[in-house]
Symmetry: C2
């Protein structure tokens, strides 16, 4: 990070987000008209917003996208489409890895279980929902009445419009809005590049910038067996975006925690993140060292390792952000200011008291978190086998209980996913299990102390490695038939079962369940307190704020803009020559190897054509695949990542170094025409219609 650039951030924080920064994941029915007008002189019109809204697409598998032709063509990220690509492929046809192109309509492959939603309207139903709650009833009755009202509104709306209708809880209960979507379930695969170029640079370049990724995937939406004709789609910009341009992101940020109090953020910074990072790094070293011992080990641990590295990078980035004293100071200031406004007003007494309730709950959490994570969170027993043993043990105890009294993962609603996990025949590797269980038993002993009474019982007079080998070599839980039989034999059989790992789960269970209950109670206290604060905030500032992300459509805006890092300027965009340079400097070795096509077609590519770019947009996970549009509402790029400093956006907006990362519209066309030679598809993007 470049810290001589800090002054603007202070200014931005002091003056408040509206005046200077590009903060906000705004609701389409409460867009930041004044802020944009003030900073950029640009007027957001209703027509402009309506068009962008109806051109935006939600991938229910967890991402965003947009219509880019009147013939139902939808663009999203390769990593958003990855699941669909894998499902339509086979052992012989690895579309995820090799890419895909349907030259003709008949070759477009229908995706297995992909649902797309397109938002049509938003209606504020807060009054209706609140009116349904009888005055003076308790929390539980209020919850039931509210749920009933929401279901009724949804069902009425569906009956009258035929549209998918969801009542969305915003501002943690401060407002309820009815979102109506067009649903599309016949979605067909049109084009995907090789994963190698979509995720070029792999883990080393993940969350980094400069980048050179063609992270795109194209689908076509069908209705009644024919491509859907849409009136709202994004026109392809002729020139794309350049440094300094005002641009907009329309997508579905999944979840933010912008309303955490300073005591909660300090807890994350000082306790939770350091512990999580210590464990992630420990596991990364463990699994990587083991992976390097053989190709087979590497194959077995590949997914685990990538998941750990991805989490470690994300956490490290967020943690570094929390260490920014300016960010924390601005949080403390706005919290203090807001509490001052609540003080002495009887109508906000609950919100006013909520801060201390949160602090108290946080203290209880802090005192119990380590044991909770080690025991109930299984950090002390990390292995597939222990997870199975515990599920079997608890299924015995929980299933005979009334549905409402069970641990939630044993409720009737969770039955299918429980049984899916319990009876899965995915391979579990004895050697990897011993490795991870031994290491986590060591962690348990280190953290709770070798003399701790429970640790002594868990280790049973053996070293962690000896105990882990003993448990894994003697348990039967890796046998699906054993699991099925025990699960079906019921509570008495489970209680009588003396499999060593089930016995271990049993040994830990009383304290583990107590800790879970304690932590859930504190979480509930915090949630109620947050709802009170959030409602007060909405009542006082509703018009000027945006709610935490809810995986519903939001509008962000920002400037295409580079940044400074350790005294060096990182330019706003990369170009094709940079990709080839990177491959060369990394000796074309994985994950920096270029697909054969890219090597072959190098000479035909425009080396100065932009490939990726960064901007100050306020985004978070779920925004993957969001279109970036210019003031004309034209498609200029597609979000696919945030850089490391952007990982703090979970908690607070920052624009000194935090950047969204997008594929440039010009780079997409260039690659389609020159590398993939799919002229008709490129033409469809460029003209907004398909040639028939």
């Amino acid at each position: 990070m470049n810290w001589r650039m800090m002054t603007p951030l202070i200014a931005s924080l002091a003056l408040g987000p509206a005046a200077v920064s590009d903060e906000g994941m705004w609701l389409y029915n409460n867009p930041p008209r004044e802020q944009i007008k003030a900073k950029y002189g640009f007027e957001l019109t209703d027509a402009w917003l309506d068009h962008l809204m109806k051109s935006s697409v939600r991938f229910n598998s967890g991402g965003s996208g947009s219509f880019v032709s009147e013939d139902g063509l939808v663009i999203s990220n390769h990593h958003v489409g990855a699941d669909a690509l894998q499902k339509v492929g086979s052992k012989e046809k690895d579309y995820l890895k090799e890419g895909f192109y349907a030259a003709q309509a008949s070759e477009e492959i229908r995706c297995v279980d992909l649902e797309l939603n397109v938002l049509q309207s938003i209606e504020d139903v807060t009054a209706k929902v609140n009116a349904a709650i009888p005055a003076g009833v308790g929390a539980e009755a209020a919850f039931k009445a509210r749920l009933k009202a929401m279901l009724e509104i949804e069902s009425e709306s569906f009956k009258s419009t035929g549209l998918r209708s969801d009542v969305v809880t915003l501002y943690q209960g401060g407002a309820y809005h009815l979102y109506r979507f067009k649903r599309y379930t016949d979605v067909r695969l049109v084009f995907a590049p090789e994963q190698q170029i979509a995720f070029y640079g792999g883990d080393p370049d993940n969350f980094e910038y400069p980048r050179f990724d063609l992270d795109i995937c194209l689908f076509r939406v069908y209705e009644d067996g024919k491509p859907v004709k849409v009136t709202n789609y994004l026109k392809w910009s002729k020139n794309g975006a350049k440094e300094g341009d005002l641009t907009f992101v329309s997508g579905h940020p999944g979840r933010t925690d912008r309303l955490l109090t300073t005591t909660e953020l300090e807890y994350l910074r000082d306790t939770a993140f350091p512990y999580q990072l210590e464990r992630l790094k420990r596991r990364e070293v463990l699994i990587r060292a083991w992976s390097e011992r053989s190709a087979e080990n590497a194959r077995r641990a590949k997914e685990d390792l990538f998941g750990i590295q991805n989490s470690r990078k994300a956490r490290d980035g967020g943690h570094a952000g929390l260490y920014d004293p300016l960010l924390m100071a601005s949080k403390a200031k706005s919290e203090g200011d807001f509490r001052a406004r609540l003080a002495g007003k009887p109508e906000y007494a609950v919100a006013s008291a909520a801060y201390d309730r949160i602090t108290q709950a946080q203290e209880v959490i802090g005192k119990n978190a380590l044991r909770y994570r080690l025991l109930e969170g299984e950090n002390g027993f990390t292995s597939e086998s222990f997870a199975l043993a515990r599920r079997l043990l608890r299924a015995g105890a929980e299933r005979p209980k009334p549905n409402g009294e069970r641990l939630r993962e044993f409720s009737e609603a969770s039955k299918q996913s429980l049984e899916l996990a319990l009876f899965s025949d995915k391979p579990i590797y004895e050697d990897l299990e011993i490795l991870t269980l031994a290491d986590s038993l060591t962690l348990l002993a280190e953290k709770l102390g070798y003399q701790d009474a429970l640790v002594a019982k868990v280790l049973a007079g053996k070293s962690p490695r000896a105990r882990a080998a003993d448990l894994i070599l003697h348990t039967k839980v890796r046998d699906v038939a054993f699991r099925k039989k025990l699960y079906e034999s019921g509570a008495d059989a489970v209680a009588a079962e003396n499999d060593p790992l089930i016995e271990l789960a049993r040994l830990v269970d009383p304290e583990s369940r107590d800790l879970r209950k304690l932590m859930e109670t504190q979480d509930e206290i915090k949630q109620q307190a947050h709802a009170a604060i959030s409602k007060a905030q909405f009542a006082l500032d509703g018009a000027n704020t945006y709610p935490d992300a809810t995986f519903t459509l939001r509008l962000s805006y920002g400037t295409v803009k580079g940044y400074q890092e350790n005294g060096k300027s990182i330019p706003a965009n990369t170009v094709f020559s940079g990709l080839y340079q990177r491959a060369k400097e990394m000796d074309n070795k994985p994950p920096f190897d270029l697909p054969a096509r890219w090597q072959k077609q190098k000479s035909s590519l425009g080396m100065d054509v932009p490939l990726n770019f960064v901007g100050t947009h306020d985004i978070i996970g779920g925004n993957s695949g969001s279109p970036v549009v210019n003031t004309q509402g034209e498609f200029v790029g597609i979000i696919f990542d945030g850089n490391l400093p952007s990982l703090v956006l979970d908690f607070a907006y920052e624009d000194v170094q935090a950047r969204s990362v997008s594929v440039h519209s010009a780079g997409i066309l260039e690659a389609l025409r020159k590398v993939y030679r799919v002229g008709p598809l490129a033409d469809e993007l460029a003209t907004g219609k398909r040639k028939h």
Copy 2:
């Protein structure tokens, strides 16, 4: 580890080392005759011992070796010779990487600063040393008198024999022995294989087994410009060693801590090792992730990374050993037994009280270790730049003091190495410096707390990353001329210097110095207490014990023997076909790639010829290059590593899984003849003389 094999260990520990196990790094003048006779029925004769002693060679750069021909040929490990190989090479001739062979005497290259020592005799001078100390003097006077007596003995011996004469302190002062060595300083390089095959498998296979390393290097010793003629050299065994064979290791173990008390071991297990491992793994992830971002990064961080990985593996292995409750129980039992023997005997009152003194000192250490490591140990400021800044700052304050009152690294004796480090122009990389300093400042804040007064001053209102970038970008200490000038300008100039990193060092200095003083005092208390215990032990059991390692010649013995791991048998030796199989299963990718010669000559090699083997010998760092001999005193192999479980041998002997790892004599000959085609050299080994 295989834990169903534990019973023999319990038996071995219960019956004591002499009866069952192969424990011990024995003195040549107190060899384990009875133990070997009892267990193996083999008689150690004086002639046998004398021959092996005089055939053994100490590499003063830190390893072992042996004469293997009457013409002064010495064999050691490639990694022992690495420093010499690098020094005689050039940019054009990278002998370390490419290997070396002198086909004729005239091609043998003289090593730059290599000194070899060959032990000729040992004389017990304990009485003489002790007699020199006047009765009733204080500790300091006793220390001075003892030192004087030792120097006189050494000087007299040198005068009368012309041999290098060292008085060695054994049993921490329980005994003093005079070691007389023949010194050789004209040592010439004869043969080295490629580093690729010497360290085959690199870090992933380091400390692991099975192994496939040709970790050898051959030198010839010259005197008066001619190869030395020796009468004591090891004959090459015709068949080498096989599973079950009794074999001996004659080498120079560097340092062991076998006499640590249980409270000290518990401290290592529960506090010191977990902290060190957390930090090592954190740094490994940091530097590795950064290395993977570019080939240049990888080049810059390569050495650091390998060092960290090597330490992490070693620590992890030692830590796992300390978690073995049987090992700890046996330690506790023998300590309890010994304390019972001391109890009530006035002559052992000091030794008897020493245990509690150690525990008390350990408690003080435990309370201060974290701050000490972070501040004085620079764990909170990890960077070359901070180390330089601190050295400059302290040189200013220390150099005007009388020599005896300075911090030891500023004494006159250390002047040369201080100035070497201070004025070295080895490159220091700004980006890597920011990376490591930022991470260690984060560690500092995490461990001491964000609210800690010193942490707040260190961070100066910035985030760790911002502060690190600020310090590294603005300090002048990376400029050699600046360092030289400031160092030479003296105390006042240093006191007036406001370079930001020197200011940081100054800020930390008062507390850091206090912590150092406190810790050094506790170490001194422990050292004195250990000396008292050790002397009592020697007085009571001298004849039956061996002292902690002192980098002087020791004899170990053991069986060539495989072991069990996670329910699998690891055989005692590997063969050439295993090497090719390993290369194949790892796709011949680094560090598993075979040198070109080895690929080319594959068909001519005997695939069943043994390459490496393991044994139960009691070894530790410094034993690298030690010859392994059979009962006939013939060379059957050369130690080059220990497996992971052997890393606990620092603290206690273990023979369930701990194994020495050697190159097999047959494998050496086979490689020399068939891969390197150096028949004359192979003949010299096989016949014990060079053809002229």
